[in-house]
Amino acid sequence: MQMPEPNSGVLSNKARIVARLRGVLAKDAVIDAPEETRAYECDALTAYRCPPLAAVLPASTEEVAAVLKICHEEGVPVVPRGAGTSLAGGALPTADSVILGVARMTEVLDTDYANRVIRVQTGRTNLSVTGAVEEEDFFYAPDPSSQLACAIAGNIAMNSGGAHCLKYGVTTNNLLGVTMVLMDGTVVELGGAHLDNAGYDLLGLVCGSEGQLGVVTEATLRILRKPEGARPVLIGYDSNEVAGQCVSDIIKAGVLPVAIEFMDRPCIRATEAFAHAGYPDCEALLIVEVEGSESEIDAQLGVITQIARKHDPVELRESRSAEESAKIWLGRKSAFGAMGQINDYMCLDGTIPVSELPYVLRRIGEMSKDYGLGVGNVFHAGDGNMHPLILFDANKSGDLEKCEAFGADILKLCVEVGGCLTGEHGVGIEKRDLMGTQFSDADMAAQMRVKDVFDPEWLLNPAKVFPLSASQAHRDAERDVAA
């Protein structure tokens, strides 16, 4: 992975920069000893590592502003960090950067059930937002599988999704407001407990901007009342085509399940060996979950199973109790862990139009043979967000490179059939160099112009999202125009 040359001026001013940061933060909130900055050298994309110049852990919006002001004056790049669970290398430092972690900012600032909003500091983990409102039977809808660990900060930066987004949407649909600090230390308030905006939708622009437009310190999130109940049905098929057709027919029938999960044979076998969930050994497995009262659930599952039966399933198992539901979900929830038991894996995240599902799965199977690397597919079928898991051996030389090339081919295929490179994990450094397959130079330039407005010196989260050659060319051109 190509990264920019560290700024030697910044490296040689380390002592002064660290001293200035110590001047505005608590003593233990500035980390600069090499053995300690190591903890911040990567996120969940562990193939790439680089210790930062220093890491800081501010406790408030004011402290974040003070840090950014200093870094701005010193020309130091800043990499915002939540919990470091990004799978795209979104929080990967550069050697000349300061990691700005919000891990100490975990307070709930206001819980307002009447207006169905909660205000939190963004270091708070996703699951503990729901935890804060659970006793009143409320919840925060976006539920990434990493929700125990990941922070709202990272969720906002990546516009994270989850298994239930077919019904509830992703982060951007559940985010009502933020406090954000710009690179020069200016604090801005976007949105709030009211809906929509007075002018441009800057909140929508910030959500998913991968920490490149500002550091988000507080957020107002929509909370919802929990449904009366939820129950899944498990359906097995002998062909991916038929499973895909079943999904489409369910949707066309006017039922809106909260989740439609899909697993293919390699993934079913791996999870079965690992979790013993009692899944059938078949080509494709669907888990469809619906919500409501007992009778509403029965009615919806009735419609779904009737459609499923028309397609001649090899197995159809309707959950009748909480235990049965848990068992149906058990395999799906352990899929990543199960694949990890077999081998190292890389998790992809492209989205395709759901109608292309059978074709894409067939092509992935063919490519898997060509590359000689196994692949399992588990994904959100209702919205076309695929998660192919490519198996490789990190200790075998050349395997990682081969895996990355395979991954790139799959993502190109996703774009080719009308989809996109990433449905929820973000571009980061991982997919940076593939951006040109989805966007024209002009499309990318339009996005980079947004960056120019929010962070004219391009100090925030450098070297992510845009290919380095493209961002360099863009900035050179802007400089020429200015001169």
Partner: protein, 375 residues
């Protein structure tokens, strides 16, 4: 009047423009500060390009009539989740609303409170920026975080950042049945509390509105339920139990009457053909009654109290009366003279205004796209 029929022609028209352009779709929303300039109509860009009911997605050219889109969706028993309003009768306009105009205004009706705004359903755009460059963002799939989200930025930018040429939406299944639970005679404060209670229940309310003037001299608070028939009946009963004791409750379940009721709410029918200016105020629902009281005039509440429509005497700047509050007020209907004299959109705090201005300059460096329309 340039009336391009494809993206290339839009690009040529913008690149070759020597002065300001006034971008129009159906011309049914004379919103914002009046713009002088040569009219650039998007009407020639018309037609549904892709509709996949099984994938819940539709893609159409920006000048496609909204009615055509809604008819296509209805034929597969689907719909736009955000229930776009039809402002013609409120604004005294004729013409055919286009889907591009809906996006440019981020126009969202009563279901916004449950299913999100237009911007939440919008998954892709193609547009021509002020340099004449053809750009795209998002796409035709509902989960997409590739690059910055310019889709959201374009929604509600009133043609000031680009001329939309194509838009893509996530759609939802239509419903088998609908019903309206009505509570009679509540004060504004009690009505907002009742609506909050309903939204705080698991019964999936898809609209909540309150009309103080109501019917026959009594206020009416309306809660809409949609879905499969049995489920709607079940939830209506549950809501009646939940809200028992606060006022007289009736349930309307005639589908045509329920539909008409919410169409009227969506289109702000009580203010049709009435003298005065119409403002639209977005606040935290529990702040609604206090804001309405400060505004004076006549109020209508939607979004559980979070959207307050007010009808006030013509020509005054309501914001002076409202003072500082968390939210925003937009002048929706007023004479050209009034709209030319005061800022129609709520002023943004300085650092936010600077960002907006920066974006405007990046996307429209010559300042030719609907200049000044957003103040």
């Amino acid at each position: 009047m340039p009336s391009p029929v494809d993206e290339r022609e839009v690009s040529d028209a913008v690149a070759g423009a020597e002065g300001p352009l006034r971008i129009v779709g159906g011309g049914t929303r004379p919103v914002g500060r009046p713009v002088a300039g040569k009219v650039l109509s998007a009407k020639g860009l018309s037609g549904i390009e892709l509709y996949e009911p099984g994938a819940l997605t539709i893609v159409a050219k920006a000048g496609t009539p909204l009615a055509e889109i809604e008819a296509a969706l209805a034929s597969a028993n689907q719909r736009l989740p955000f229930e776009p309003s039809d402002m013609r009768r409120l604004l005294g306009r004729s013409g055919e609303p286009t889907i591009g105009g809906v996006v440019a205004a981020n126009a969202s009706g009563p279901r916004r409170i449950q299913a999100g705004a237009c911007r939440d359903s919008l998954i892709g755009v193609r547009f021509v920026d002020g340099r004449g460059t053809v750009l795209k963002n998002g796409g035709r799939v509902m989960k997409n975080v590739t690059g910055y989200d310019l889709v959201k930025l374009m929604a509600g930018s009133y043609g000031t950042l680009g001329v939309l040429t194509e838009v893509a939406f996530k759609v939802l299944p239509g419903v088998e049945a609908q019903a309206c639970v009505m509570i009679h005679g509540l004060s504004d404060v009690a009505a907002v509390a009742a609506m909050s209670k309903a939204f705080g229940s698991p019964f999936e309310v898809s609209g909540a509105a309150h009309s103080p003037a109501g019917e026959a001299g009594q206020s009416v608070t309306k809660l809409r339920l949609e879905g499969f028939a049995d489920s709607v009946a079940y939830r209506a009963g549950k809501l009646r139990e939940l809200l028992a004791g606060i006022g007289e409750i009736t349930i309307e379940d005639d589908p045509d009457r329920v539909k008409a009721m919410w169409r009227d709410l969506r289109d702000v029918a009580p203010f049709h053909r009435r003298e005065g200016d119409v403002w639209r105020i977005s606040v935290k629902p529990s702040d609604g009654p206090a804001i309405a009281a400060r505004a004076g005039g006549e109020a209508l509440y939607d979004w559980g109290g979070g959207l307050v429509w007010v009808l006030v005497p013509a020509g005054t700047d309501l914001r002076a009366r409202l003072g500082a509050f968390a939210g925003h007020a937009t002048l929706i209907r007023a004479s050209e003279e009034t709209r030319g004299r005061m800022s129609v959109f709520h002023p943004e705090p300085a650092p936010v205004a600077a960002l907006s201005e920066g974006l405007r300059r990046q996307f429209d460096p010559k300042g030719i796209l609907n200049p000044g329309v957003m103040g």
